[in-house]
Amino acid sequence: MSPDAAPLEELLLRMWQIRWFELRAMELFEEKLIRGSVHPYIGMEAIAVGVCAALEQKDYITSTHRGHGHCVAKGLDLKLMMAEIIGREDGYCRGRGGSMHITAIDEGMLGADAIVAGSSAIAVGAAHGLRLKGHDGVIVCFFGDGASNQGILHEACNLGAVLAAPVVFVCENNQWAISTPAAASTRIDNIADRAAGYGFPGVIVDGNDVLAVRDVTATAVARARAGDGPTLLEPKSYRITAHSAATKTDLRPPEELDAWRARDPILSFSRYLNTEAGVAAERLEQIEEEARADVETAVEFALASPRPEPESALEDVYAPAKWATAGRLS
């Protein structure tokens, strides 16, 4: 093993944790232990892990309805994540949020947002707010190709540019919005081209190459931290599952899916580690097993966690305030 393999192994572990977390979540959905829906991040693991590898503890992310991968990559606790999406009291949000709303600010996760492009302006404002507070953190805003046609994203990119806010926009181009291909939604090939309209760099990167994603993110983060403003990254990838565990219809061409399956970001990174970083095949298997065991531990923890008490449904609508505790108001 080469001396610098350990941090690379860590990236592989995170990618496997995402993969197994999502596979187990889909099973738990079928078993009706998860309500609503689950939007798996399978096939896109290199994006979240590559981006977060370029971040420091003091940096923050915003996420989407397809957000589990971002949470794992940022270092959130799998146990508290699984408890949340199963709807238990020990979950990150005490079961109030669910799969699409994991929030863990202390861990650098400002919140997953299930309104497509909804967190883009939030990311800009958080970035400005950090700077006002004298904090040199950077905000990464994850969104998808579908989100790139939302009006709020245009406003947020422009405002971020005007404020030179320390924010990195990451357009995870997975090619499809449920059943509508990206090519049917825009007349341009690259979402990154739109960055020119805001006066900041747009960078296309192979979203299935974790190290390439890490490296372009590092450049964008350095630019943001230096006060030079946003960057729009466009990692191109593909979601290997249907839109969600609840979506039974998948209109994507099977040959396209096969072509992307053959480019599995975890398997290709494993091969790289084996051939370029001298990580033995047994060690690679061990890393996958470790990830799988971490996810099992999380599932056991979650299933043992209590369900929220019905009367607690009225808690936390408002923050503590004099008026909220006076007892006379409603």
Binding site: Y60, T62, G91, Y92, C93, R94, G95, R96, G97, H101, T103, A104, I105, L110, G111, D113, I115, G118, S119, S120, A121, I122, A123, V124, G125, A126, A127, H128, G129, L130, R131, L132, K133, H135, I139, G151, I152, E155, A156, N158, L159, V162, L163, E315, D316, V317, Y318, A319, P320, A321, K322, W323, A324, A326, R328, L329, S330
Partner: protein, 336 residues
């Protein structure tokens, strides 16, 4: 009503709001203001006048005309510990920020299981009554009252405006703070020095034994004028100024209705689904047995706001409409 301390001066509502912002920005470096034409110009109504010189362009931000991004940015800044204040030039533009306010600001705390707070204030000028037409004249507070997680405030006097804005900025919850444009220039007594008006506490602006009028903002002034008119006929009207629409001070309202037995709810908003409807519903929920007459709503007609003066006057509630409602609940025949 808490008694003001210190010397008292006459200030307009816009001057009082400007003092509130200045004092809170001095008090807390995390408070910043964002909006259109608010920096060098000081805002269309001068509420942010002088702030740029004092606090600089990082805290007094002339934003692009992107209301949704301004509101969203405020939510984000609030999540990392700031206390932003967004100025919507015209309150009708709330339609552009609804997703950020309703789907984000109002829910983020609850969705996070209480892990976060979103202390932000969205201010907007309600510009009816001056011929601004249908897209600059709406009174839309009911939209926010309906959305869980928000605080909704509409002041009627300079004193309340200053104290409530200071309270709103210090509150850890998202606050929608709507200001009646015609009241900006109206003077009132405001003490020097720091004070807050508590959120969620209504104020009895006039005491009376025969009829309770529950209202807010411009409705308070309509009600007070109507009360003076009917007092000549021996009818004593109590005027309850909600000040905060959500949370709702049912205690003050119920006590008044229990005393008078008659309720009129007045709003300048379109009638259907309005705050007036909510006031009547809350009173019938809580103290129906005290009522001696059916409650009456006085509200704007359910139309877009017309431009021409006689039409706008016909749509908006007037003093004589409140007088007619009072006569109806006390059993006097209305002439209209």
């Amino acid at each position: 009503m808490s008694e003001p301390r210190g010397d008292v001066r006459e200030l307009t509502m816009s001057e009082a709001l400007n003092e509130a912002l200045t004092e809170e920005m001095e008090r807390d470096s995390g408070v910043f203001v964002v909006g259109e034409d608010i920096a060098a110009m000081g805002g269309l109504f001068q509420v942010t006048s002088g702030l740029l010189e004092r606090f600089g362009s990082q805290r007094v931000i002339d934003a692009p005309i992107s209301e949704a991004a301004q509101a969203g940015a405020a939510v984000g800044a609030a999540l990392v510990g700031c206390r932003p204040v967004v100025e919507l030039q015209i309150a009708d533009f709330v339609s552009l920020v609804m997703d950020q306010v309703v789907n984000h600001a109002g829910k983020w705390r609850y969705m996070s299981g209480g892990r976060v707070t979103v202390p932000f204030v969205l201010r907007g000028a309600v510009s009816n009554g001056i011929g601004m037409g249908a897209q600059h004249s709406q009174t839309l507070e009911a939209w926010f009252v309906h959305a869980p997680g928000l605080v909704v405030i509409m002041p009627s006097t300079p004193y309340d405006a200053k104290g409530l804005l200071k309270a709103a900025i210090r509150d850890d919850n998202p606050v929608v703070f709507l200001e009646k444009r015609l009241l900006y220039a109206r003077p009132g007594q405001v003490p020097t020095g720091d004070y807050v008006v508590p959120i969620g506490i209504a104020d009895v602006k006039r005491e009376g034994s025969d009829v309770t009028v529950v209202t807010y903002a411009q409705g308070v002034h309509l009600a007070l004028q109507a009360a003076r008119q009917v007092a000549r006929d021996g009818v004593e009207v109590e005027v309850v100024d909600l000040r905060t629409l959500k949370p709702f001070d049912i205690e003050t309202v119920a006590a008044s209705v229990q005393k008078t037995g008659r309720l009129i709810a007045v709003t300048e908003a379109a009638r259907a689904g309005s705050m007036a409807s909510e006031i009547v519903a809350r009173v019938t929920d809580e103290v129906f047995d005290s009522l001696k007459a059916a409650p009456v709503r006085v509200a704007a007609a359910d139309t877009p706001m017309p431009y021409a003066a006689p039409l706008e006057r016909a749509v908006l509630p007037q003093v004589e409409d409140v007088v007619a409602a009072i006569n109806r609940v006390v059993g006097k025949v209305s002439v209209s």
